[in-house]
C-alpha cells in the first residue's frame, strides 16, 4: 500500500517510521521501521521491553522527538501528513505514567489550559470545563489544588485535560503503570470508553498484557532492538515493510 | 589640604614624554574672553568636579558650593569623589591617549603639587585662565607666595588657589603632657613612648609631608631642596640624614614600624581609640572640628614645631579637554569669593584657612572672617609658627620610591 493510498484513510497512520540516533561513533538504530494505521475508535497496543524505543515512537508522532534523535517516515492524521508540523498544531493528545498536572494551576486552570482558545468567553469556557468535570463526577474539584488530589483523581483530570484539547488521536505512554491494581482497571475502562466515545484513534504503549487485553485492539510487538516482531498488528494494522 | 599621591613621576614622565614625542601643544591657550561672556556661556552647564571625597565635612562643603553656583549662575556641579587625585589625572591622560580632544569627562580637578606639575608638563591643562576670574585678584599673593608657586612650580595662571594647608600635630592632653618642639625632639619622645607614634604610609600626602618635614628640618642647606633633585651622589648626601633619622624612629613606632596607617583620618581614628597618642593634619582646625563631630575627645589639642612646619596651597585646575570649561571657571571663581572662603574657614564647616588677603576686602567682607568662631583646639594664626616651603617635587618622587624600597617590603 502506498503512502497516497494510506492518506485517504481516516485515523492515525504511520508509514515507514524509523528513529535513529546519529552519534559521532556511528548511527544507532532506535526503533522501526513501523507502519500501521489506527482507525478512529480503535486502540492499538504497542508492547515491548524497556528501552525498545516505544516512547520515542510516541514522541515522533506528537512532534516532540528529542532533537538528538532523527526520525524518518511519515505520520498522517485523518489523511493529512503532519510529519513536519510543530507539536502544538498536530492535535495529538498524550498521557504519561505521571499525570503531569501543572502544580501552579488549579484543576480548572489545568483543564482551561487544554481547552482551545477558539472556545471564547469566560462563561462558555467555564461551562465546557464544568461539563467535563460533571461527566467524570468531579465537579466538586473545580477550584482544587491538583496536588491535594488522589492519584486516581489526578489521572482522570489529566485525561479530561487532554480530551478537552480536542485531539484527533490519543497516545498513551503507560498511563496506568503507576496506579494500584483496583484503580488501574477503573481508570483503564474510563480511558478506553472516552477514546471510543470520541472515536479517537488510540495508540497504547504498555508492558502489561492485561492493558492490552482490555484494549481489545490489535497488537504490535517490538523486540529489544526496536524491530517489529512477526506477532505484529492484526486487524487493520499493517504488516512490517508496508506490504499488505 | 592637598589630596594626591606622589609616586615615581615627574622626571620619568618628562623623559618619557619627550622621548615619545608626547608633549604636544596645549589645546586651549590663554583665556581671552571677558568675565560676563564666560558667565553667560556657563549658564546651564554641568561641571564634573573630580575631587578627593574621603572627608564628610569637605563633601558637605562641596555640596553647598553646588547649591550656590546653581542659584547664582545656573551651573550644575557634580562632585566626582576620588579616592586619589591621580585617578583623575590618569583619566585625562587616558582620554588623550584615546584621542579625545574635547568633551572630556573631567571639568575641574582639585589639585596641587606633583599632579599639577605633571599635568602642566604634559600640557593637559586649560588656560591660563585665572587672570579673568574677578575674585582671583583678592588673593593674598604677598604673604601667601604658595598661591602662585605650587611646590616650586609656577602656577602660570593654570590653577586657581582655594585653600591653605599647614602641617600640624594632634595630641590628647589626657595622655600627653609635654609635646616635642622639633623633629629631633619627636624622636626622643618616641623613644620614651615606644609604640605611641606613627605616620601615614607615603605616598599618602600627609605621610609624604611628614618626610618633607624631616628632610627640611634636618637639611644642612634647605635651599637645595627648592631646586630639582640633583644626581645620585648628591641626593644620597642630602637625604642621608632623613634615612638615618627614620631608621632610628621606625623601631619606636606603632607596630615597630612594620605597618602604617593608610591615611590621616585613619590615624585620627587611632588617636581616638588610644592606639597611638598623636595624629597629623594639614588643617589647623581639624582637631576642633573633629571634637565637634564626636570624632575625638575634647581633651585633644594641636601643636606645631618651633621652627615651623611645611605649608602649601591647594588649587583647582581645568583639563584641556573639559566639556564645560566656562562652568568650571565660574565654580573656580566662586570658590575664591569672600563668602565661599569664609564658610570654608569656619571650623564648624571645614576650617580650611583662606587664600584671600584681608587688606583687599571691604569691611563687610572682612567681617565675614572676623566673626568666625575659633575652635577650642585650634591654634590662632600667630601661634601656627613659620611656614616651611615645599621641596621641589622631584625630591619627593625619589624619596617616596626610596622609602618604598627601604620600608615597604
Amino acid at each position: 500500500m502506498s503512502v497516497i493510498e494510506l492518506a485517504t484513510g481516516q485515523g492515525l497512520t504511520l508509514s515507514q517510521v524509523e528513529i535513529v540516533h546519529p552519534a559521532p561513533g556511528g548511527v544507532r538504530h532506535i526503533i522501526g521501521p513501523v507502519s500501521l494505521s489506527v482507525p478512529p475508535g480503535e486502540v492499538v497496543t504497542v508492547m515491548g521491553p524497556s528501552g525498545c524505543g516505544k516512547s520515542s515512537l510516541l514522541a515522533m508522532i506528537c512532534g516532540t522527538l528529542d532533537a538528538a534523535l532523527e526520525g524518518s517516515g511519515r505520520v498522517l492524521l485523518n489523511g493529512a501528513d503532519v510529519s513536519d508540523k510543530p507539536p502544538e498544531t498536530r492535535h495529538v493528545g498524550i498521557l504519561f505514567q505521571d499525570d503531569l498536572l501543572f502544580p501552579h494551576l488549579s484543576v480548572a486552570g489545568n483543564l482551561a489550559f487544554g481547552l482551545p482558545a477558539a472556545v471564547k468567553g469566560r462563561r462558555a469556557r467555564r461551562a465546557r470545563i464544568e461539563a467535563a468535570l460533571a461527566e467524570a463526577d468531579m465537579l466538586a474539584f473545580y477550584d482544587r489544588d491538583p496536588t491535594t488530589l488522589s492519584g486516581g483523581q489526578r489521572a482522570r483530570i489529566a485525561l479530561l485535560r487532554t480530551l478537552l484539547s480536542e485531539p484527533r488521536a490519543l497516545l498513551l505512554d503507560e498511563p496506568f503503570a503507576k496506579l494500584d491494581v483496583a484503580l488501574r482497571a477503573k481508570f483503564r475502562s474510563f480511558v478506553f470508553e472516552h477514546a471510543r466515545a470520541q472515536a479517537l484513534p488510540t495508540l497504547l504503549v504498555t508492558h502489561d498484557p492485561q492493558d492490552a487485553a482490555d484494549a481489545g485492539g490489535p497488537r504490535l510487538q517490538i523486540d529489544a532492538d526496536g524491530r517489529v516482531l512477526g506477532g505484529r498488528a492484526s486487524g487493520r494494522g499493517h504488516r512490517p515493510g508496508g506490504t499488505p | 589640604m592637598i589630596r594626591r599621591r606622589m609616586p615615581l613621576f615627574s622626571m620619568l614622565i618628562a623623559a618619557l614624554a619627550t622621548a615619545l614625542g608626547l608633549s604636544g601643544p596645549a589645546e586651549g591657550g590663554t583665556e581671552t574672553r571677558t568675565w560676563p561672556e564666560i558667565v553667560a556661556a556657563a549658564k546651564g552647564q554641568t561641571v564634573y568636579w573630580n575631587a578627593w571625597g574621603g572627608d564628610e565635612r569637605i563633601n558637605a562643603y562641596i555640596a553647598w558650593v553646588g547649591d550656590q553656583v546653581r542659584e547664582r549662575y545656573d551651573v550644575t556641579l557634580v562632585h566626582v569623589k576620588l579616592a586619589d587625585t591621580a585617578d583623575a589625572v590618569s583619566r585625562v591622560l587616558a582620554e588623550r591617549a584615546a584621542g579625545k580632544k574635547e568633551g572630556g569627562s573631567v571639568d575641574l580637578i582639585w589639585i596641587n603639587g606633583e599632579n599639577f606639575a605633571a599635568m602642566k608638563q604634559q600640557h593637559l591643562l586649560y588656560g591660563p585662565f585665572t587672570q579673568v576670574l574677578p575674585n582671583f585678584h583678592l588673593v593674598d599673593f604677598a604673604d601667601k607666595p604658595s598661591t602662585l608657586v605650587d611646590f616650586t612650580v609656577p602656577t602660570d595662571g593654570l590653577e586657581a588657589p582655594w585653600g591653605m594647608a599647614k602641617l600640624n600635630f594632634l595630641y590628647d592632653t589626657a595622655r600627653v603632657t609635654e609635646t616635642p618642639g622639633s623633629i629631633p625632639a619627636l624622636l626622643d619622645w618616641a623613644k620614651a613612648h615606644p609604640g605611641r607614634f606613627t605616620y601615614p604610609a607615603p605616598p599618602n600626602f600627609i605621610g609624604s609631608t611628614f618626610l618633607k618635614q624631616v628632610l627640611t628640618e634636618l637639611a644642612t642647606d634647605p635651599a637645595v631642596l627648592q631646586k630639582p633633585a640633583p644626581d645620585d651622589a648628591q641626593f644620597e648626601a642630602v637625604t642621608a640624614r632623613l634615612w638615618s633619622y627614620l631608621d632610628a624612629l621606625h623601631p619606636q613606632l606603632w607596630r615597630g614600624g612594620d605597618a602604617f596607617p593608610a591615611s590621616n583620618p585613619a590615624q585620627r581614628q587611632m588617636l581616638d581609640d588610644g592606639v597611638v597618642d598623636m595624629s597629623l593634619s594639614f588643617n589647623p582646625a581639624e582637631a576642633s572640628s573633629a571634637i565637634a563631630n564626636n570624632l575625638l575627645p575634647d581633651t585633644v589639642r594641636t601643636f606645631v614645631f618651633d621652627k615651623g612646619t611645611i605649608g602649601n596651597t591647594h588649587f583647582v585646575a581645568i583639563p584641556f579637554n573639559a566639556n564645560a570649561a566656562e562652568g568650571a571657571m565660574v565654580v573656580a571663581d566662586f570658590l575664591m569669593s569672600p563668602k565661599a572662603q569664609a564658610v570654608k574657614q569656619n571650623p564648624e564647616a571645614w576650617g580650611d584657612p583662606t587664600v584671600l588677603s584681608m587688606a583687599k576686602l571691604d569691611p563687610g567682607q572682612r567681617h565675614l572672617f572676623e566673626s568666625l568662631p575659633q575652635g577650642i583646639a585650634t591654634l590662632p594664626p600667630d601661634k601656627l609658627g613659620p611656614t616651611l616651603l615645599e621641596p621641589h617635587p622631584t625630591w619627593m618622587t625619589r624619596i617616596e620610591a626610596e622609602w618604598q624600597r627601604r620600608y615597604a617590603r
Binding site: A67, A68, P86, L105, A112, P116 | S90, A401, R409
Partner: protein
C-alpha cells in the same frame, strides 16, 4: 526541525556579550605588558615592562601575601566545608546552616570585611567586650590583628565569605551524587560516619565542586576590595599593588601595571595548576587510604569541632553586620567601652540624601544587570531545551571564565576599549561590566533547576495545543518562579558587591554603595562607614527575602485560570 528566531542567536549573543570584553581586555593588557601601546608611544615589543616590574620594591612580599592568603583561605574554606558535611551529614545543623548560607553569600565581601575589621582590631569590639575588666587594657594592645604581616586577617575574611559559597555548592552536588545511598552502603559495611563520607561521598562530590573551588581560589588570589580593608599595605598583595600602579600618574607605570596584571593572571593560572597537582596527589593517597579498609571512629569528636568552627564563622559574619549597624547609630563609642556611650540617628540623617542617591545607583544597576542576565540566561536555557542541546563541560568552563580570570588582569584593557568606543562612564558600560560577573552566577543558579524541570510537562502542554512561547510563559516560568526569583536575587547581590568593575566602567561618575564603603574604609568616620556598609549588606538581603517571600505560584495563577493565552 523548526522555528529558529531570535532565540537561537541568544547563546551566541550571550557568549559574545560577556566573553568579548574579557578577551579584548586581556589583549589590551598583554600588549602593553610587552611594551606595545601606541597611544603612549610604545610601538615595539620589549621585555622592559617585565624588567621594571621585577625591580619594583616589595614585589616578592606582595606575591608572598597573595599566595599565602589565596591558598590558605581556599584550603580552609574547603576543609571546613568537607569537615562540616562529613561530620554532620544529614543532621539538623546542616539544614539550619543551609538556611543561613544564602544570606551569607548575599552579603557583599566589602561589608563583611569592614565589619570584621572593626570586630577583630586591637581596638575592636571583641577586645572592648573584655577590656579592661578581663584584660587590664586601658589602651588597645599594640598587636597586629588586622593588616597583619601574614595577611591572616585577609585570609579569615575570605574564609568567612567563601565557605558559605562552597558549602552551598557542595550541598547541591550531594543531591546529584545520591550521597545518602552511598553513605548507607558504606555505613552498612561498617564504616564510621565521617570516614564513610570521606571515602564514599567525597570522591564523587569533589568532581562536582571542582569548578566552584577553582573560582574560589582564583578569587582569593586576586581579591582587591577585601584586601584594601584587611591586608597589609606596605606592601599590599599583588592585585592591590597592580591597581596602585595603574592609578599612578606616571605614564610609564602603565607598562609596569600591565605586566603586573599579566603576572596576576599567571599567578592564578599557576595557582589552579598547583591545586590540580595537589588534587592528583591527594587522589593517589586517597585511593590507597580508601582501599586500606580502615573503618574510622564514630565521629563523636569531629562533630562538635566542625559544628563549632562553622557556627563560629557564621557568628563572626553576623557580628560583623551587627557591628556595622551599631556604628551607624553611634554618636560616641570610645575604647574600651563595650557599647556606645550614646546612640542617635544623626549620622543617618546627615547621610540620607547622599546615601539615597548612591543606593539608587546601586539598586538601578543591580536590577538592570540582574534582569538582563536573567533574560539572556532564560533565553539560552529555553533555546537549549527547544533544540535539545545540552551544555558540554567545555561550555561550562567558558561560563566560568569571568570568574576565573582575575578582574585586574583584564578590566584595564576593557577600560581603554570603552574609552575608544566612547561608552566609558556611561550606564551602558557600568551595567555591561556588572553583567560579566552577574551572568555566570545567574546561569549557575538557574541552570540546574531549569534542566531539572520534567520536560514531559512541556511536551504535554505542546500536545495540548500550546505554542512553545505559551508553554514557556504559562507552564515553565510559573513552575520555576522560585528558582527564577532566587537567581534574580543572586544576580542582584553579585552586582551590588562589584568594586573594580564599578570603579573602571563607571569612570568615577557612578558611585555605588560598594565603592563608597570601600573608599571610606581608608580611614573615614566609622559611623559613616557603618551607614554605607550596612546599606550595602542590606540591599541583597532584602532581595533574597523578597525572592523567598513570594507566595506559592498557584495563588497568583488561580486568577488567570479560565482565560486562554
Amino acid at each position: 526541525m523548526r522555528r529558529r528566531g531570535l532565540l537561537s542567536v541568544l547563546p551566541a549573543l550571550t557568549l559574545t556579550l560577556f566573553l568579548a570584553p574579557v578577551i579584548a581586555g586581556l589583549i589590551g593588557t598583554w600588549l602593553p605588558a610587552f611594551g606595545y601601546l601606541p597611544a603612549l608611544g610604545g610601538d615595539s615589543f620589549t621585555l622592559a615592562p617585565w624588567a621594571m616590574l621585577a625591580a619594583q620594591p616589595g614585589l616578592g612580599e606582595s606575591l608572598r601575601l597573595t599566595l599565602l592568603s589565596g591558598f590558605l583561605a581556599t584550603f580552609l574554606a574547603f576543609a571546613l566545608t568537607v569537615g562540616f558535611l562529613a561530620a554532620c551529614h544529614g543532621g539538623r545543623l546542616v539544614r539550619a546552616v543551609r538556611g543561613l548560607m544564602a544570606p551569607l553569600i548575599a552579603l557583599p565581601h566589602a561589608a563583611v570585611a569592614l565589619g570584621l575589621a572593626f570586630l577583630i582590631a586591637p581596638s575592636g569590639w571583641l577586645v572592648r567586650l573584655v577590656s579592661p575588666w578581663a584584660t587590664g587594657w586601658q589602651l588597645p594592645p599594640d598587636i597586629a590583628t588586622v593588616q597583619d604581616p601574614n595577611a591572616l586577617a585577609l585570609t579569615l575574611g575570605l574564609v568567612v565569605k567563601e565557605m558559605p559559597f562552597l558549602l552551598l555548592m557542595t550541598l547541591a552536588a550531594l543531591e546529584q551524587v545520591r550521597a545518602d545511598e552511598r553513605l548507607a552502603v558504606a555505613r552498612s559495611l561498617g564504616y564510621g560516619p565521617v570516614t564513610a563520607w570521606l571515602k564514599a561521598v567525597l570522591p564523587a562530590v569533589y568532581r562536582q565542586i571542582r569548578l566552584p573551588l577553582y573560582a574560589v581560589l582564583a578569587y582569593a588570589l586576586s581579591v582587591v576590595d577585601v584586601a584594601l580593608i584587611l591586608a597589609p599595605l606596605t606592601p599590599p598583595p599583588l592585585a592591590v599593588q597592580v591597581l596602585r600602579w595603574f592609578n599612578d600618574p606616571d605614564l610609564s607605570m602603565r607598562f609596569v601595571a600591565a605586566a603586573g596584571a599579566c603576572l596576576q593572571l599567571l599567578v592564578v593560572v599557576a595557582g589552579i595548576g598547583l591545586w590540580r597537582l595537589g588534587e592528583i596527589l591527594a587522589e593517589r593517597l586517597g585511593r590507597a587510604w580508601i582501599a586500606g579498609g580502615s573503618r574510622g571512629g564514630n565521629g563523636r569528636l569531629a562533630r562538635p569541632l566542625a559544628a563549632g568552627l562553622v557556627q563560629g564563622l557564621v557568628a563572626l559574619a553576623a557580628a560583623s553586620l551587627l557591628a556595622l549597624a551599631l556604628w551607624s547609630v553611634t554618636e560616641r563609642w570610645r575604647f574600651p567601652d563595650a557599647l556606645p556611650a550614646s546612640l542617635g540617628l544623626e549620622t543617618w540623617a546627615r547621610q540620607a540624601p547622599h546615601a539615597a542617591s548612591v543606593a539608587g545607583t546601586t539598586l538601578a544597576t543591580g536590577l538592570l544587570a540582574a534582569a538582563i542576565a536573567l533574560l539572556l540566561v532564560l533565553g539560552c536555557l529555553e533555546n537549549e531545551q527547544r533544540r535539545g542541546l545540552t551544555l558540554s563541560n567545555r561550555a561550562l568552563w567558558l561560563l566560568y571564565v569571568p570568574l576565573l580570570v582575575p578582574q585586574v588582569a583584564f578590566l584595564f584593557g576593557t577600560q581603554v576599549l570603552a574609552i575608544q568606543t566612547g561608552i566609558d562612564a556611561t550606564w551602558l558600560a557600568l551595567v555591561w561590566s556588572h553583567l560579566l560577573f552577574v551572568l555566570p552566577y545567574v546561569f549557575l543558579t538557574l541552570g540546574d533547576s531549569y534542566r531539572a524541570l520534567d520536560e514531559r510537562y512541556a511536551r504535554t502542554a505542546l500536545c495540548l495545543g500550546a505554542h512553545p512561547n505559551r508553554v514557556f510563559w504559562q507552564v515553565k516560568l510559573p513552575m520555576l518562579l522560585r528558582p527564577v526569583l532566587f537567581a534574580l536575587a543572586v544576580g542582584f547581590a553579585v552586582s551590588v558587591a562589584q568594586y573594580l568593575p564599578t570603579l573602571f566602567a563607571g569612570g568615577g561618575r557612578f558611585v555605588t554603595l560598594t565603592t563608597e564603603a570601600v573608599g571610606l574604609a581608608a580611614g573615614g568616620d566609622r559611623r559613616v562607614i557603618g551607614v554605607y556598609a550596612f546599606l550595602q549588606a542590606l540591599l541583597p538581603l532584602i532581595a533574597f527575602a523578597a525572592a523567598l517571600a513570594v507566595p506559592k505560584p498557584l495563588a497568583l495563577a488561580r486568577k488567570l485560570t479560565v482565560q486562554p493565552a
